[in-house]
């Protein structure tokens, strides 16, 4: 069953209310043939990990513009691992200073996408790096 679409969770952790980018990305990834679960604003790490687990997604993409990524993203990565979801591909998009990219990678983030990234770039990255669920 290799032809089934990859499933991607798009989440907005934390308190910033700017979800236009997340929605544009969710829509763009839909057009790229992914099944996109969009969970909306103000997600806690627990909510994101629960959604990832219940939906059995291949990818978790987080959009953060508030600067809280160094607090929230490692927490999501830790909880994914502790729930047995360490093989889920984690990506982050938004305003991420260059200095933070390495620590985020160490925490378990595979892709960091800043302003100007095209949807096609994100889609290609996911197709190249995600491992589809098997059962």
């Amino acid at each position: 069953m290799t032809d089934r679409p990859l499933k991607v969770l798009i989440a907005k952790p934390g308190l910033d209310g700017h979800d236009r980018g997340a929605k544009v990305l969710a829509r763009g990834l839909r057009d790229e043939g992914f099944e996109v679960v969009y969970t909306g604003l103000r997600q806690t790490p627990e909510m994101i990990v629960t959604a990832a687990l219940q939906e059995d997604v291949d990818v978790v993409g987080m959009s953060i513009l508030s600067g809280a990524h160094m607090t929230l993203v490692p927490r999501v990565c830790e909880q994914l691992k502790s729930k047995g979801l360490g093989d889920v591909l984690v990506t982050v998009g938004g305003i991420i200073p260059d200095d933070d990219i390495e620590p985020l990678r160490t925490a378990g983030v595979s892709g960091v996408f800043g302003p100007g990234t095209t949807i096609r770039e994100v889609a290609d990255f996911i197709r190249a790096n995600a491992t589809p669920r098997e059962a």
Partner: protein, 332 residues
């Protein structure tokens, strides 16, 4: 890593017992197998189907924007307050062009992250046209066998004739928004005919009372005559809710429970019989297609399809010939 080791039957057994013991990740993985139609899913159904049958399967359907997801969220809150566990299968459409989908129903169903009594699963319709995904009924069976008290099947936003949910559910709730149409809309054939309960949501909007009154008059007229009282016809209760605030939701839950209790005598077995027929029929069709695509038959099948495509044969003659061929293969 129970899910990648062993035969499909072994993996299905491991996942099924883990899911029934409360392992949410195993449950999620089983649902993925079901969605992807894998060998594990088939083996799991052989284990789980006999263990299912006690959950109340409730279909929630209605036009886009009527408030289905918000009502499901309000029902979850009400059910959890009553100590009942609830699973949700929320279907959104797949793109016919790219196969992609935007599954947005969770947006309205937040705040159960740490509650093991709630499990929400979004499903893309993947080309299935009846309002659900082809695998939604099977997903509901998995939740049923995993011990959830109630399974809510939320359809895609429907038009007038996506009535499939009625076969999948014990109780079908059709949602309407105020001022969606006049009495003539209410007496057209289709969606409203399969409703066990009709809910006018957005009850705080002007026109909600009037819409409900019109629906009551047309669907269950006093005195008995009318579409609801015909042969096999239903006489749905008409309720008003405001899902955003929770107004009317306790009454809806009470109506669901009443419908289920009433159905225990006669209607539910009929609904379950119809569901069984649909499920077995789907498997028969699938099995026949598999046999027609098998190496011994594939050449003949392809030739028959080509002949139909060129209008040299017709679909009926081709189907009869292929079925006859299958029959001959069986009794050599």
């Amino acid at each position: 890593m129970t899910e990648t080791i062993g035969t499909p039957a072994e993996r299905a057994a491991a996942l099924s017992s883990a899911a029934r013991a409360g392992d949410r990740r195993a449950l999620a993985r089983l649902l993925t197998a079901v969605e992807n139609h894998t060998a594990v899913a088939e083996q799991a159904m052989r284990i789980l189907y006999p263990l299912a049958g006690s959950a109340h399967l409730v279909g929630i359907t209605g036009p886009p924007g009527a408030g289905k997801s918000t009502l499901v969220a309000a029902l979850i809150a009400e059910l959890r307050a009553a100590g009942r566990t609830v699973a949700v299968v929320a279907v959104d459409p797949s793109s016919p062009i790219t196969g992609g989908a935007l599954l947005g129903d969770r947006v309205r169903m937040q705040s159960y992250a740490s509650d093991d009594g709630v499990f929400i699963r979004s499903m893309a319709s993947r080309g299935h046209a009846g309002g659900l995904a082809a695998t939604s009924t099977t997903a509901a069976t998995v939740f049923d066998a995993a011990g959830f008290d109630i399974v809510l099947l939320e359809t895609v936003g429907t038009g007038q004739s996506e009535v499939e949910v009625a076969a999948a559910a014990d109780t079908t709730v059709v949602l309407e928004a105020p001022e969606m149409g006049d009495e003539v809309q209410a007496i057209k054939a289709g969606l409203l005919e399969v409703a066990d309960i009709v809910v006018v949501n957005k009850g705080d909007r002007p026109g909600a009372q009037r819409t409900a009154a019109q629906l009551r008059a047309m669907l269950a007229p006093p005195g008995g005559a009318g579409p609801g009282s015909g042969p096999g016809g239903k006489r749905p209760e008409v309720l008003i809710t405001t899902a955003m605030t929770g107004d009317g939701v306790p009454a809806l839950l009470a109506a669901l429970d009443r419908h289920r209790a009433a159905g225990k005598d006669e209607a539910a077995p009929a609904a379950r019989r119809a569901r069984a027929a649909a499920q077995v029929r789907a498997v028969i069709v699938e099995r026949l297609w598999e046999r027609l695509a098998a190496p011994t038959m594939a050449v003949r099948t392809e030739a028959a399809l080509d002949a139909v495509a060129r209008h040299e044969s017709d679909p009926y003659a081709a189907a009869d010939a292929l079925l006859a061929d299958l029959g001959r293969e069986e009794t050599p």
